[in-house]
Symmetry: D2
Subunit: 343 residues, 4 copies
């Protein structure tokens, strides 16, 4: 039997052995919900990582992580500015409408956004300023950005600071969807200490993804405002996301933080993406700054690659998306790079 | 160091070794969300168990399981009849209001309910019939019962049939909160084949609990109406409960179903509860039909027990609640029985 | 043809001639929504009346008035404390669940409330303090009281001050449902200047009813916090309650305020209720402090009254409710008083 | 003082004298809510008009009328297809999100729509078919069209039939926002009997606007499916839109239906728009099929017109919108036509 070489999605990767180990060890803890010692440790661990006070709450999915944070920033009659191709708009089955009670996603498109589904202060201003204080139109309450973006690009520390300043100037909350935050952090600063703060900037909240990067079913909502954190706790319960055996989720996150496993894993995936990127040359649709590649490939070329046992998604009619992961095998990476170069 | 003897809650029990094994084995599966072979197996497995067609969906918590099922039975402007002490009313942080978009929980109290927080057709009729078709008052759309009930009592097959007939006569859906369904089934029929159908009766949907009984983070919503199942799939996604590594949840449930582990575990817990019940005699507030005991004990008596290393919750001023679990040690059970008998 | 004597509900009364006049005059205004001069006048008029800054917004129903104000005080995951028999709980078709996005109505019953469906600080404390800071249970965010109460009783200025102090001590908002606020004010201070502030006390918001008292389709939400007022404006629009010809609603309210017509009308209704009350003697279930009477009457006695052309509602098996209005004819009042005295 | 000539909005027009008359006459009715004889008459009157069974419910605003109908066609997890410039998307302050509990407005833009903000089956298919049955993406449950459209264009009977066929083929509800339905009907068939059915086609529900056309505060939701009508009744109450003095709303609608006043008024407005359209020639951005004109005019030209006492809205940088109404004076119409022709 031939082994396929998987570049479909980091969602499908297995659980990292150290995460398994930590989960098994949590059997001996015995307080339900978030009353256990492992869950209690999270706040301090994230505060260490980001260099400022915060609360860290486990949650089973990124969808819920994003929506819970946003729901505490945006009242039901308000709106959340995001990119037209943001995950919360196109891929979460209406979760925003559910958690935010019908608040509106206010979409920045090509004329209002930056490159690779990134937002810019000017683009947002063009969207929200003309309708300001018009009671007939939904007013923005918050901004949601994605780090790394839907096209695998990252916000620099300067870009984040500019967005945060803009958000403050308009009285808006600023949330970061960090499903691939680890990859963005790895890009921002290698394994160095400041990677996390550099990649988060002064956002108000962050959905810190671990699942694509070696975890099983635990993301973290990191909240830098203690009042917001209190609200999220009640809303997590209300959304059926306060698991009674939450210690197993805490254990996953702690294992990922220990020895910077989250950065180690992401760096591996980024390096693999980088190797493939080099082979893609002009075919690349966006700079590769994380672990996703969007590559112009004709249907015939995609067929050729699939015949060589590579799995990946089509991206429209003339392109493909490749995603690397913490467990991508070096030989698969090299094989793919070589195969693309040979097209 | 003294070991405490835990009778606080089955929520706190560890994960069963066979469940761990099955989860590890799921590493090799690799389709995300519910596209994997393990998730796909669930429908047929539950259909076998209940002897009728159904869909079985994994979900991380009982709160979400109950609310997702109810949300497809009750429109936002309708109501769900439940007992005044039902878990969805008193302990789920307003989850019903969230998932059902403000639908009303219509409460049967002592004058409308049966023993031990169980509902009866007559009690429900007394609540809903007088306001029928009054546009100023919320109309019932569904009924939610708990099996085993909040006081550890069970509905018999006949009682379930009567409730289902009543529900049909009023055009209402009938949902069962089965956080401790396994214990009810064990009480209903030992390890025999018909235990599950006997304990579920002809309900429309069931939140089948595995977490208190040896699982880690996977309950099942079992839906006997295929249209409802389709709705629940969309709503599960929308609620941030469609986990991308869902195969690890499916694996837990399959492990619990294999060799009737769910019944084996529940029978163990029930037996332990039974042994303690015998020692309690007239102190029992309700018949013990599952794994919970509500026992009249003065403050001094509770102090005495705690001094002997037993952990449990107070239940008001003059009673205590004891819960046994799949992992309750026989020696702890005997010790507790003896200690109560000696008070 | 015999003329019936109507004591069913003040809801059914016609529109006062002065209100008609003011509405017709509004034809000449021509700005849509709330941009007209009449709507703009409301803030100042209510500020005069209550002796403190406030915003006054027209709205077509008391249900919407109450719910819009409460929605800005209570987040979707919170709760509103009210009496078990409060109108928002029993008679508004689930409007609270809708406008508050599933927030919970937390009910004070006989053991937690005062006389005649009134709330007390002690009763509320007994309900909310034991569950405070328990993430599994909905936390109170606001209190809703009814002035006059569902049984026609009124809160004194002292009682209101005590409730407001309590609300502040727990961080809760305090809203007053004033569907019959005019009647309560008339009871509190006759036609004197201080009637409104006395009857409102230091509440945060008030749904000031005009419709039962001579208006057609305009109540006022009076908001003493300017930030809350801003939120209500957006939510009024979002709820489809920002009428494009709002000037006709403003005109109704202004006509009711001119020359204290609201107090004149309410005083008339109260006086009628008082005359009937005197005739009822020991039959009265509650003191008559507004325009509603709850009177113990056997089925036979009610039959006798109906045979004499009086219309009213049964109140359970052994009582009746009589409501007077701004247009209740003196001869009908006297006739009813006499008829009851003669039973 | 100079009199302005108002072409800003039909929203600002006064109430028609016959409507005033009918409202005054309703004083003598005395049943609250919708229990009066006038409200009861509506179903039959609309059935006569449309030539098929239906229910007709009064409601204070078009926003609420549209949203209540749509809420019964689209579950909270579904979506409503509408044009990117539809009123429910851009001008109703998020009402759709509120009434539909976070359901998604799925927007047809220039690449998916027809001329003048009209929808076409092909455009809708291109939007919804590619994501069909993908649980990660919101599925369409209903379609909302506007008659006359946001740019004053109308759907022909054939176009409506095609949309209804398409909706049926996809299992979708079809709702018509008829804020200016009268104008579309007048365009479709003059004063002839078949105008209403021709302009409504086989839609499932219609928000039939009367307020812009001579009413004060009463639109009608017309529902051709009796089950849907029942749901709307409960939801109207729940939304605080069941007015206790509803007879005054019913009276307005009946007055508008009597002697086809609705068509007479709309025909007057359409004729005025037609006269101005002729003068506009190539400046027209869209064919004038109702009572709105979108006219290319430079800033200087708009200044010239305003200096001649014409009031109207700018439409972007290079155009203006003019709206005629039931009360537009013939001399103002002629004056505007002449003024534009002279530019």
């Amino acid at each position: 039997m031939t082994t396929r070489m998987p570049f479909l999605s980091d969602n499908a990767a297995p659980v990292h052995p150290k995460v398994w180990e930590a989960m098994r060890a949590a059997d001996s803890a015995d307080n339900p919900y978030d009353g256990d010692a492992l869950s209690a440790e999270l706040d301090a661990r994230f505060a260490d990582l980001f260099g400022r006070e915060c609360a860290g709450l486990w949650i089973a999915t990124g969808t819920a992580a994003n929506c819970l944070a946003l729901a505490t920033m945006c009242q039901p009659h308000g709106g959340v500015v995001c990119h037209r191709e943001a995950h919360i708009e196109v891929d979460e089955g209406g979760a925003g409408g559910f958690f935010l009670h019908g608040a509106k996603l206010m979409l920045c498109g090509d004329d209002h956004g930056g490159e690779g589904a990134k937002l810019t202060p000017d683009g947002i201003a063009a969207l929200i300023d003309p309708i300001r204080d018009d009671v007939h139109q939904v007013q923005a309450h918050a901004i949601a950005i994605t780090q790394a973006s839907e096209y695998g690009m990252t916000y620099s520390a300067d870009e984040l600071a500019a967005l945060a300043n803009f958000a403050r100037s308009r009285g808006l909350g600023l949330h970061m969807d960090g499903a691939r935050f680890a990859n963005a952090a790895a890009f921002a600063g290698g394994n160095a200490q400041g990677a996390a703060p550099k990649a988060a900037g002064p956002v108000d909240s962050l959905a810190f993804g671990f699942i694509k990067n070696g975890g099983m079913g635990a993301e973290a909502v990191v909240l830098f405002d203690p009042e917001q954190a209190d609200l999220v706790k009640y809303r997590r319960k209300r959304a059926g996301h306060l698991q009674c055996k939450g210690r197993y989720l805490a254990a996953q996150i702690l294992a990922m933080l220990d020895g910077d496993l989250w950065l180690v894993n992401a760096s591996h995936a980024n390096a693999a993406a980088g190797e493939i990127a080099t082979a893609c040359g002009d075919r690349l649709m966006y700079p590769v700054e994380a672990n996703e590649l969007f590559v112009q490939l004709s249907e015939a070329e995609r067929e050729t690659l699939r015949a060589q046992n590579f799995d990946f998604y089509d991206w429209g009619a003339d392109a493909a998306r490749f995603v690397t992961a913490w467990n991508t095998r070096d030989e698969d990476t090299s094989a793919l790079a070589k195969a693309i170069a040979s097209l």
